[in-house]
Symmetry: C2
Subunit: 115 residues, 2 copies
């Protein structure tokens, strides 16, 4: 017996905005939306998706879980994401092959080299 | 253009132990292992997987990202996960249909009702 991985849930101050932001990043669709939950996924039959739930508190420390992205072209994708509203983040990565960005609510994520 | 979702990365104090724990939870295999990274996935061709990277610091606040699991049988799966070393966690969920557990390093995750 094992559990299926259903989703990653992200606490957010503005679930409507942050869910749409990540949908643009990943080319995902909104598959469910209410006042207390927005879910995005590749399509309705593909798990895991990403679910956004509202919380009042802001982010305080470096997230212990983060998302890694696999782009076709790292430099072009970093430019696209910064145009969308990401900002570069320093989590002590130093010289690294991946680029650390933060989403509009400050959640760190990495853009890997193409693989 | 969009990025592919490559993985969720989890900061861990013991990547060898925590990666194997989550592999048991999900029925995943270890697809890469070094001293600085362990990756688990359904198989080598399926993304996203979960990557564990070592950090010295422990968990301090409720994680802003967490994993939701979709079991065939919620009660039986909760029992199995607690036998594996999960513990029940209180993040203020109150009466809820999902069960909040924490993994051996304290990362919260939810076991949903079967869907």
């Amino acid at each position: 017996m094992a559990s299926n991985w259903y989703s990653v849930v992200i606490d957010a101050n503005d679930i409507a905005v942050l869910s749409r932001w990540w949908a643009q990043v990943l080319g995902y669709s909104i598959v469910f939306e209410s006042e207390t939950e927005v879910a995005i996924a590749k399509d309705e039959d593909t798990n895991p998706g990403i679910v956004f739930v509202p919380v009042p508190e802001g982010k305080t420390v470096k997230n212990r879980l983060h998302i890694d992205l696999n782009p076709d072209d790292q430099a072009a994708e970093v430019d696209r994401l910064i145009d969308l509203g990401a900002r570069r983040a320093d989590v002590g990565q130093g010289e690294s092959r991946w680029v650390v960005l933060a989403d509009p609510e400050g959640n760190e994520f990495c853009v890997l080299t193409a693989r």
